[in-house]
Amino acid sequence: MSLDRSTVARIANLARIDVPDDQQEPLARELSNLLLWVEQLREVDTDGVEPLRMIMPLPPRWREDSVTDGGHADVVTANAPAALDGFFVVPKVVE
């Protein structure tokens, strides 16, 4: 499987990464090589092998349902470029 330049441009756009035109072609080649390598892995016979989703069979790490956080709008918005009355402020989003 190989990626063409327009696919790279589309993925970049979806990820909101600005990839200049002249870098799209080289990037397509690099990504295609990565995919080739992944495809190589597919050649290994994995019939009857369960996917390894956890290294250790851990018991579920679930939280109790209790309120342990919150009440600090000032901290939450401290690094925002703009805040107002506890809100984050972002450029107008037109529906």
């Binding site: 939280r63 349902d65 209790s66 309120v67 919150g70 972002v90 529906e95």
Partner: protein, 484 residues
Amino acid sequence: MSYTIEGNTGTWEIVVGLEVHAQVISESKLFSGASTAYGAPPNANVSIVDAGMPGMLPVVNAHCIRQAVRTGLGLKAQINKDSVFERKNYFYPDLPQGYQISQYLHPIVGNGELVIDMPNGESRTIGITRLHLEQDAGKSVHDRSDDATLIDLNRSGVALMEIVSEPDIRTPEEAVLYMRKLRSILRYLGTCDGNMEEGNLRCDANVSVRRRGETAFGTRCEIKNVNSMRFVARAIEYEARRQVDLIESGQTVVQETRLFDAQKGETRSMRGKEEAHDYRYFPDPDLLPVILPEGYVEEIAASLPELPDAKKSRFIADYGVTPYDAGVLVMEQQTAAYFEAVAQGRDAKQAANWVINELFGLLAKGGKDLSETPISADDLGRLLDLLNDGTISGRLAKDVFAIMFETGQSPARIVEERGLKQVTDTSSIEPFCEEVIAANPGQVETYRKNPKVIGWFVGQVMKKTGGKANPAVVTGILQKMLDG
């Protein structure tokens, strides 16, 4: 029951599937310890996990998992003991992580079903495709500023259950019945409060049309923002008509997301959202698969309450109420419990009648719901006892009921203090009968030809006694006097 749309070129039918987002009842969020309380100041219920700060790790809220399984069981659905949280990637200002943690290929709940009760007494089963857990997004406020949008993340990360139906719905009315029934089940289970005003139950409708008799589905549109029971039917009606007109004028329906505008009663395209319709799901590497321990599902199953369908069947079988009345009584758990308290040891049909027609009537008039009733189930029961043992007449019972509703006093006290006891003593009724007969010789003549006129005499006597005389006794006395 069939619903069709008459077009210029023939008859059309509609195919609808609903996607419902139900907010899970929990104290804290799906992956953080921030509160889920509604109406807090902006960003007060936000942890740095909910704000999507780098390096933060989500940890699953055990109760939310439990609630999802509980809901799945209530929908008679398959529970998947191994499910996976994935990242659904898209950019929007109210989504600080840049992705929503949701479930995709391996949802926690699979196929189930929901039975809707049609007004004509028939039932239809609507298939449930799946239920999965996901995070809610934050809220955008557009009207505070002309050139900026304000973001409140209090809702961000709150657990939602997305419940997807099969495209089994064929009329706008069925869609409303589906929503009502689903809301009822969620409230019985205690997994979602069903409050549509606060957005805790939201509905998107997938609508398509096809010529009657066709079996293939047409191209569908997803209608967002259908946020009241009333709008569900209106949005579907409008959208189906729009699609029929489009096809009949030679155009095609484009698969897209459309927004329902409640004010205008129409749907319009949300083109902006279409571009990014590639969510590039992948399993969230921050979270382990959700594996339900041995016995977990069985334990929850054992804790389920009696659900509306079972309760309805029981009411019909044990109390002999009509299917329609049973359906009304079981819609809310509280109503069902109230009815059972009144019906206990009494005439259940009469009890149902008083609860549905009299009590609900007055409550609706005052814009109240049952939790605000001034009449306790015990007092309503006692009123029926007074009626049935002849202490008060049927007419007076309604008067007493109205006073109970106004004052909250017990029926015995009202009857006692206001002297509303029914008079059955012949000697005190006879004078009124004599008086009415003496004053109306013309009617007496009529009675000779038509004995049915006795009803008129009874009415006159009742009026004179302020409704307190026992009508059967009055009739007996009158008959004796007129015939004798």
